[in-house]
Symmetry: C3
Subunit: 397 residues, 3 copies
């Protein structure tokens, strides 16, 4: 028998955002977070993989650099056994090929200082920006040219009701940023869509943070008009879609569903707003609590794994304010929100992967009215493609 | 060099039962056991996979139902996080798609009771029969029509010498059924053939149950004529092959083999009889002891795994008889027979898989005279094919 | 984007040793070590895999035999559950197919001594040589004919400066051989090349054995002329390449590299010499200490794994000398050299595999002057090919 029980109705729809559906490995030529600053001590090397690119991060004299993590000699990872013999260089632990962190040039070979290859070969380097405790790397085509500013790959700057105060932007002065990141099973797009998704509140209905704070959580939020999801396209700047939860005229919460005898829980109203930005960055304003913002990055590792980044930020001008945020991060935000609350999302994303991988989910899904903002995101993302990551594997068994 | 050391002589023979050789994923359009009744409590959902079909079992108001275990929305398994909000429905834990267990129709979406998709979409359902503590599901083509009766997919009813008493049939009244099931590596056909196989006694020669009961175990049993294996084809009923061990005129036991200086062990004669039935059900009459019958199901999960079911049954009219059987099951049949004895078969089946998978075993085997009943089974099974299970995977890496 | 960051310059070079690059599964029609004699007790069966050949070793009446480890019947491994019922035979544990160890013929079937297949079928056998505690098997084409002598697949006999004494050869009388072997990730060629490699001293710079003995370890050794690597081609005998470290006129040690501010460590000079022989056998004369020789075999298992053999040998004429060597092996050579020192090589080899497997490393490497002897080895090996091992898998998913 044929597997006709997996037919969805979406096959014809995907043409509206075909470039997005093809981006299994992610969007090339963008800035992605690679490490927290605290993870890269001076004098060491750490390896990450972004969109199939194996990248070695090296801090030298305080500054962070990024190079290909594959020695040109025989392809071992430089980060497999970090060897930093002098400032400004990374040495391969196997045969001593030594590269300049500035331009990747082969400056010496430890055991053969007069080797004829020296000065005639180089490893690839990547642009790096380090800001507010996060190290970003621009990953993509070697011949891409000057990368656009980091800010164009972060959510836009917003001033948010109801406080009418500016939300902490990751490049602001006088803010504090804390967070975690982890490797998950699942394509980066499934993670990004889950982040924006207005229809998945059910997976959070029993989360401890909501129960403890008695937060009102509707069963769903109904968009009343097409304006509920705003498409934002800033020239030379961020591109994203925003659920305008700040506009009560655009949404109606669903508080009960008699058909299955279920009602919304909680009594304390809490305002927040979500938006998703190319190449896969979520902003949740006023979350986990008012005046804090949560950013999430869904960084493609390969076509079936992503690095899930969760950071929270707020304004902080004094040491006391920073210490208070640190304390709340360790004992409230991290255990109850980044882990407790978002682990429900992690479960959902990993559970979705199999269908999209093995059953061609992009052409076998059956979206509903609640998916309006996900469709808007797909179309927006499809229009703003700088390039694809592709599988780097040439000869795999 | 080529791998010529794996050449068997069977390549030309397989044409006699070609449909059977093609049935890697199993026989579609048959009844298969899915769960024991005790494994499915009221108000919950359990997932199983049969022939590539992911199936969710749900008990509601005492009755067992079977639906596709893939939400039509984004393909997650309903059973991954069971959510039963009302009688007669299963709700997907991710976005609240809620299905009727009767016909699979989408009856509501928790967070959006007015969604336009409601009433216009459905999930697939499967016919279910529950009898004597076992839940059977009819799995196959969605358009197959009315399934044949469950009884046609079970071994036939027999009255067996030497007692001339009817053997407990799984659909009888006044019987008791106990058993276990487990997922094994190995194609379902290798398991089924091992069950019937008259030539594999050697793997059992040191089993504790035989040593403890001093049972006589010959080295082999020689069929004297072609009638030793009977082909049974009941119109609109079971199809199978039976080793007529009840006919001493047809078999001669082998008690010694001087070439390797080995003799049969044990002194207590014990009568039993084996038969194998489409779509892969073994009956061993008078096993593990006289007046008990052991049934085995080799339920295909995918092309390399099967669910191995072992159940024992006997007639029981009183609570005392049932209690006695329960006690014997826990302290004798299960540890010494279903596990102790049959674990030798499990070892053999799993050891056989690699050759059939990697070395095209169906065309590279060298059968001998002892394999007459396996050949008979293959031909019988090839003639009674209602359909194939096929790989449901569309886009696997 | 394309994965252009993995481009090496070697693509055009590989034509000089193309047959070697094609030998993913190893060189067929050679002698390979299969087991230490102590690993094969009389009356048992052990299984090994060499170049994709599953081979069962059986000792009967003191003599070692090798047969295919796949029963012709249904392909299970004989070694999965050893069954030796009589001298000179191996019996399959599943259905009792019994083979003569001499010629592999099917001499009986335990449960059916009169089966018509008996005498008309056979399993493949392999030539075996057992010498000084090691069991070698000749593995390759079934129709290869008489194998060349074992000695042609071992390193040549040498008399070595500075002692001008003959180095212990594995086929000599009055020597003692001890060692270990283990399965590693990585193609056999990457392991062999690492063994010979004059450029990888850096991975050993902090090894405990060197630090404890204060051995002088240069950063590298520069070949001054092309004669530094000698190609040795003995008619009807061993073929190999030798780093002529015994010739101070050919090499210059590198003791410092100011560019990265590193100097060689250690003060005690120690003489040794390395050579690599077809089909992948390393000889390190005077290692780990003077008058001991270390041999290493990189035996292909499949295209991504090899069995790593390390043996040390020396001359020993008395029981006292043998006992002293045994004691040193257990408490010095094995922990500090075969494990401690060579574990750095194991790490390096396993780290190299990914690049050669997934990124077509043979055409994407960038060799340097220090790789002269590896290039010489590849060319030598390419000229002396008796055949390829090939993948035995026919029908893999």
């Amino acid at each position: 028998m044929s597997a006709d029980h997996y037919n969805g109705t979406s096959a014809g729809v995907t043409r509206h955002y075909a470039p997005y559906v093809q981006a299994d490995w992610g969007y090339a030529n963008h800035w992605y977070p690679a490490l927290f600053s605290t993870e890269l001590a001076d004098g060491t090397v750490k390896g990450v993989t972004i969109g199939g690119h194996d990248i070695a991060l090296r801090r030298s004299a305080g500054k962070a650099y990024a190079l290909s993590d594959r020695c040109i000699h025989r392809g071992v990872k430089l980060s497999a056994k970090p060897m930093c013999l002098s400032e400004g260089t990374v040495t391969c632990w196997y045969h001593g090929y030594t590269y300049s962190v500035d331009d990747g040039s082969l400056t010496t070979i430890v055991g053969n200082p007069d080797d004829s290859l020296i000065g005639r070969a180089a490893i690839r380097t990547y642009p790096v920006e380090e800001v507010n405790g996060m190290i970003f790397v621009f990953v993509g085509d070697a011949d891409y040219g000057t990368p656009p500013p980091l800010e164009s790959d972060l959510p836009m700057r917003v001033t948010n009701d109801p406080n009418n105060s500016p939300v902490a932007h990751l490049m602001d002065d006088n803010i504090i940023v804390r967070g975690i990141h982890r490797k998950l099973v699942g394509n980066w797009r499934l993670a990004a869509e889950n982040g924006l998704d207005p229809g998945h509140l059910l997976v959070h209905w029993d989360n401890q943070i909501l129960v403890a704070l008695d937060r009102a959580l509707p069963l769903g939020v109904n968009a009343l008009t097409d304006d509920a999801t705003e498409e934002i396209d800033i020239p030379n700047g961020p591109k994203g879609v925003m659920n305008r939860y700040d506009r009560p005229d655009l949404y109606q919460p669903v508080l009960e569903n008699p058909k299955v005898d279920i009602k919304a829980r909680g009594t304390v109203q809490h305002y927040f707003r979500t938006s998703l930005w190319v190449p896969g960055v979520l902003m949740v304003e006023h979350w986990p609590i008012t005046d804090v913002v949560q950013y999430e990055f869904y960084v493609p590792i390969d076509d079936h794994h992503h690095e899930y980044w969760e950071v929270v930020a707020t304004r902080a001008h004094t040491d006391e304010e920073r210490a208070e945020f640190d304390f709340k991060f360790e004992h409230f935000f991290k255990p109850l929100a980044l882990e407790g609350f978002n682990n429900s999302d992690v479960f959902a994303r990993e559970a979705t992967e199999e269908h999209y991988t093995r059953f061609d989910g992009w052409n076998n899904e059956m979206l509903c009215d609640m998916d309006y903002s996900i469709i808007a995101w797909r179309k927006m993302a499809a229009r703003h493609l700088r390039g694809y990551f592709e599988s780097p594997y040439r000869d795999e068994d």
